[in-house]
C-alpha cells in the first residue's frame, strides 16, 4: 500500500490533485481511496487530502507516521503535517508562502525559508518546487497542483506511471487547458530528477 498526504490552504487545488492520483492508480488496476476536507475549512483554512493506493482494508485517512510522501502546497502546512511522514518518507514542498490572517493580525513573522530549512534538517529527501516559476512559465496561477503531481510520480515513490497520469489528465481536463497542464506536469517532473 502507498499512502500520500497532500496539504495546503483552501482554494489551492489539493482535491483535484488527489483525484488525479487516485484515478491514475485505478488506470493501473489498483484499488484507490481518497479522503478530503470539504466544507467550512475550504474558506482559506488548512486542507488535507489523503490518497491511499492498494488499500482495500484500511482507513480512508492516512494515520500519523504512515505517509510515504508528504506533498505540501504551502511551506507552513508542510511543517504542520510532518508528523504524518514515515521515517523514510519523502517531502515535496511548494515554496509559495500564504501568510495566515492570524499571523498578519498578531504581527508574527511568517518566514518560509526558516520552515524549509527545518524540514531539510529533519528529512533526508526534500524536494522544493518553485510554484511561482512554473505558473509564470505556463501562464496560469492554477497549475501548481498538476505540477506537483508530476514531481510525485517522477520520484517513483507512489509507483504510478507517467502514462496513466497523462491519460487521466486527457480524460478529466477541458481540451483548452490540456496543453498548459501537460507542460506543468513536465516542469514538475524535472524537480524530481
Amino acid at each position: 500500500m502507498k499512502s500520500l498526504l497532500l496539504c495546503g490552504v483552501g482554494g489551492q487545488g489539493t482535491v483535484l490533485a488527489s483525484r488525479i492520483l487516485a484515478q491514475a492508480a485505478m488506470e493501473e488496476g489498483k484499488f484507490a481511496r481518497t479522503a478530503e476536507t470539504i466544507g467550512m475549512a475550504q474558506r482559506g483554512g488548512c486542507v488535507v487530502s489523503h490518497v491511499r493506493i492498494d488499500s482495500k482494508d484500511c482507513s480512508p485517512l492516512v494515520p500519523l507516521k504512515k505517509a510515504d510522501i508528504l506533498i505540501a502546497f504551502e511551506p507552513g502546512e508542510a511543517v504542520r503535517n510532518l508528523p504524518y511522514l514515515k521515517p523514510e518518507g519523502i517531502v515535496i514542498v511548494c515554496d509559495n508562502p500564504i501568510c495566515p490572517v492570524t499571523a498578519s493580525l498578531a504581527g508574527i513573522e511568517y518566514d518560509s525559508r526558516k520552515m524549509i530549512d527545518y524540514i531539510k534538517s529533519k528529512v533526508e529527501r526534500v524536494i522544493v518546487v518553485d510554484g511561482n516559476k512554473i505558473c509564470e512559465e505556463c501562464g496560469s496561477s492554477k497549475v501548481v497542483n498538476v505540477a506537483l503531481v508530476g514531481t510525485i510520480i517522477k520520484t517513483g515513490a507512489a509507483e504510478l506511471s507517467e502514462e496513466s497520469v497523462k491519460k487521466v489528465l486527457k480524460d478529466k481536463l477541458k481540451p483548452e487547458f490540456l496543453e498548459m497542464n501537460m507542460k506543468a506536469l513536465t516542469l514538475g517532473m524535472e524537480y524530481a530528477i
Partner: protein, 604 residues
Amino acid sequence: MKELLMGNEAIALGAIMAGVKVVAGYPGTPSTEVLETIAKRNPGKIHVEWSTNEKSALEVAAGAAYTGARSIVTMKQVGLNVASDPLMSLNYVGVKGGMVVYVADDPGPISSQTEQDTRHFGKYAKIPVFDPATPEEAYEMIQDAFAYSEKYGMPVFFRATTRVCHSCATIDVGEFPEPTEGEGFIKDTSRWVIFPKLSYESKKKLEAREVELAKEFSKLKYNFITGTGRIGIACGGVSRAYVCEAVNDLDENKDIFSIFNVGTPYPFPEDAALEFINSIDKLICFEELDPVIEDAFTYLLGKHNIKLEILGKRTMDVPNAGELGVVSITKILAGLTGKEYTESQERFKDLPDIPGRPPVLCAGCPHRASFYAVKQAMKGRKAIFCGDIGCYTLGNAAPLDMTDTCLCMGAGITIAEGLDYAEFDKDDRSVKFAFVGDSTFFASGITGVINGVYNKANIVVCVLDNSTTAMTGHQPHPGIGKTMMGDVSNAISIPKVLEAIGLTKVVTVDPLNQEEAINAVKELADLPGVKAIIFKSPCVAIVKTKKSAEVDRDKCIGCKKCINELGCPALYMKDGRACIDKALCTDCGLCKTVCPVKCIKEEA
C-alpha cells in the same frame, strides 16, 4: 464501469440504481453531494429539488412514497431536528414506495453545531438505521435500504458520517434502470389520515416489527464477524475501517482479536451479537458519537444474565467526543494486549509552532463589508449582533468580531427578539441586530420575522443576500429563480416578502458602497419595530472578477489599519508596508475606504 466515487456520490448512484423517482433535500455539510449527484447523473425521469428546508423536503418525499414511487430525502444531522415532526408521525402512517431518509452525521464535529447521533433517533422514532462503513458498502447498502423500506412499508434511515460521505473509493457502477413508477395515490382515509386510533394500532405493529427486524438483521450480510481471537471488538460505520487497519498492524497472526461489524445499529441484531459474546472473553466497542452499540451489548448481557467485561465510552476507555482514528484505536488496543506503540516521532519533537489557519471570509466577500458597515454605524453605541448559520458565521472572528450569538438555522432573528423582550421595560436598551443569509431566510427566517412584527419586537434584520447558498457549495434557493432541475422559476423577492409582512421599513443597499450602507444602518437603528436592511452583493466565488487592487508602497505609512480593521486574507505586511495578494484580491474596495492615506488603488 469502475469509477472513483465519493461516499455521497456512491449513495446517489445507488439510489438511482434502486429506481428512485423523487429526491428532495436541504443542503448541509456533509450531506449535500447526494442530491447534487442525482441531479447531475439524472437519466431523465427523476424529480430532484432543493426544498426550502428539511421539513418540506421530508414531506415531499413522503407524498411521493404514498403513490408507490421510491423517494429519498437528504439532510445533515441538525436538519433532522427540523424534519422530525413529520418523520415521527410518518412512521406511524407508513409508506408504499421505498423511502430512505438520508442523514449525514458529523463526528468532530467538523462542520456542525452538534455531535448528535442519528442512530439514537432511529431507536427513538422506531425507524431502522443502515450505517455504512465505506463508500463501496454504501453503494450496495442503499439499494437494500430501499428494498427493506418497501417490503415493510416503513421509512428507513440511511446514516453516514463525514469520513464515509467525503472519502472516495473505487466502485463498479451498473447500468441505470428506469425509475419505479408507483400505482398512483389511492384514496384510503383509514391509511393516510393519522388519528389516535390509527396511531394506537400502528404502535403495536411498530413494536412487533422491531422484534422481527432484529431477527432478520442478525442474518444480514452487513452484520458480520471476522477473526477468531478471544478479545472481541464491536464497531460500526467508519470505525470499522480504522479497526481493520489497527488490527492488521497489531495482530499479524490474526488470533488475538475478533471483530463484530454492525451495519444496522437499530434494530440491533441481537442473535448475531449473542453468538459473538459466546466466543470472546472481553469486549471493546469502537464507535463515533454515542455508545449505541456498546449500550445494546450492555442491555443484552443483562437480558441474558451473562457476565462479560465491556470497555468503551461508558468506562472512559474510548474518548466520548470527537473523531476516532487508526492512531487512537491502535493505542487503546496495544494497551489491552501489552504491545508497544507510539505515534510520535522523536525527530519532530522540536516542531516549530505554525500560526493557526482558521477558515475566514474570502477576500472580497461582501459579508465583510456588511459587517464592517454595521460596526462603523454602531461605534460608541450599545448593540448586540445575533448571527446565524452560513458563511457569515465567520463574521465572529477577529478583527470583525460581529457575531455575539449563533444557535441554529434562523435563530438569529428570534434570539434578537428574546433579547429585546427581556429589557422591554428598560430605558437604556441596546440595538439588536439579526444577521441572516438569503437561503437561511427562506429556510427558517420568515416565521421569526412574522413573530417579531406580531409581538412588537425592536430589531434590525440584516439579510446578507449574496444570491446563493454559499457555505455548502452554491446551491440555488427560492430567491434565485432557478431550480435543481435546471428550470427557471419565479424568483421570490426578499424585500417584497418583508414588505408584505409589514415591517417598519425595508431598505436594500450595496454593502460595497460603505457610505450608503452606514447611513442606512444609522437610520434604521433608531426606528421602532422590526426593520430590515438587505445587503445585496453577489458571492465572490460565483461572480468572478479579474480586477485586483494594489498598494502604492511609497505612500503606505505601514499603519496596518487595513489589516487590523478588516482581516482580509489578501492583505499582509512585507518590509513594513501593506501588500495585496493579487491572486486573492477582487478589488472590492473596502480597504480603500479604510486606508487613512488613500494609498490603495485599482491595479493598473
